[in-house]
């Protein structure tokens, strides 16, 4: 299982447009991709409702995980989206 820990820096947190872009990217994977707040319960990173309900705010850390072919590259891409200001 590969994972990345990222601090969210966008003013809107992982909401609105950043959340939509994040989910759209995660949904490309054929395997499960999860997102959790540090220490929290992971939810599907492919569900916009789950990601919005997680309510990740500016300055909070998230952990994204996946296992499968190309998971490292996908997680890098997701980490970049989540960390973008």
């Amino acid at each position: 299982m590969a994972e990345r820990r990222v601090s969210v820096t966008s003013e809107v947190g992982l909401h609105a447009r950043p959340a939509a872009t994040f989910v759209q990217t995660a949904a490309k994977a054929s395997y499960d991709v999860t997102i959790a707040k540090a220490g929290g319960t992971p939810v599907s990173a492919k569900s916009i409702l789950s990601v919005l309900a997680l309510d990740v705010r500016q300055g909070e850390s998230i952990v994204i995980s996946a296992e499968g072919e190309g998971a490292d590259a996908l997680l890098d891409e997701l980490a970049q989206i989540a960390a973008a200001p």
Partner: protein, 154 residues
């Protein structure tokens, strides 16, 4: 923080339309903007910001629901946080998805995120989402969009 999830949503009964009809997505969003303007939440420029946001990436969230909202840059068009709910019984084509309920959102900075997240928690319950799609009474819509008080504090 419990207050984030359980505070009532700013939904004015006058901003709920249970039998709206729209020719397309753009029409539906303009109607949301007009209703938000009618309840005094936004000025006339907000609908254009909602359309601009929609063009960058779809606000469809699943369960037949779209949540059109403005961009960060449009927050000056917002006078107070508010939601509107427009139900389109005939459905509206939303980039290939069928939308029956539009929840238009007007909010300043942090308020925006609280609203999105409260709404998402409600819609994650498929029964509640189905009831919302079927709701024909304004009171029903208001009741369904009331955040659960037993929501886990974080």
């Amino acid at each position: 923080m419990a207050d984030r999830a359980t505070a009532p949503l700013p939904l004015d009964p006058r901003a709920v339309r249970t039998a709206a009809a729209a020719t397309d997505l753009e029409d539906a969003i303009r109607q949301c903007g007009a209703v938000l303007q009618e309840v005094g939440a936004v000025d006339g420029t907000y609908a254009e910001a909602m359309l601009e946001r929609e063009r960058s990436i779809s606000t469809y969230v699943g369960e037949g629901v779209a949540i059109p909202h403005g961009t960060l840059e449009s927050k000056e068009a917002v006078r107070h946080d508010a939601l509107c709910v427009l139900r389109f019984p005939e459905g509206v084509d939303w980039h290939g998805e069928r939308v029956t309920v539009c929840v238009g959102i007007a909010a300043h900075g942090g308020g925006h995120m609280r609203l999105l997240s409260s709404l998402a928690r409600i819609l994650l319950d498929p029964d509640r989402a189905a009831a919302l799609r079927a709701a024909t009474e304004v009171d029903e819509v208001i009741g369904l969009l009331r955040p659960d008080e037993e929501e886990d504090p974080e």
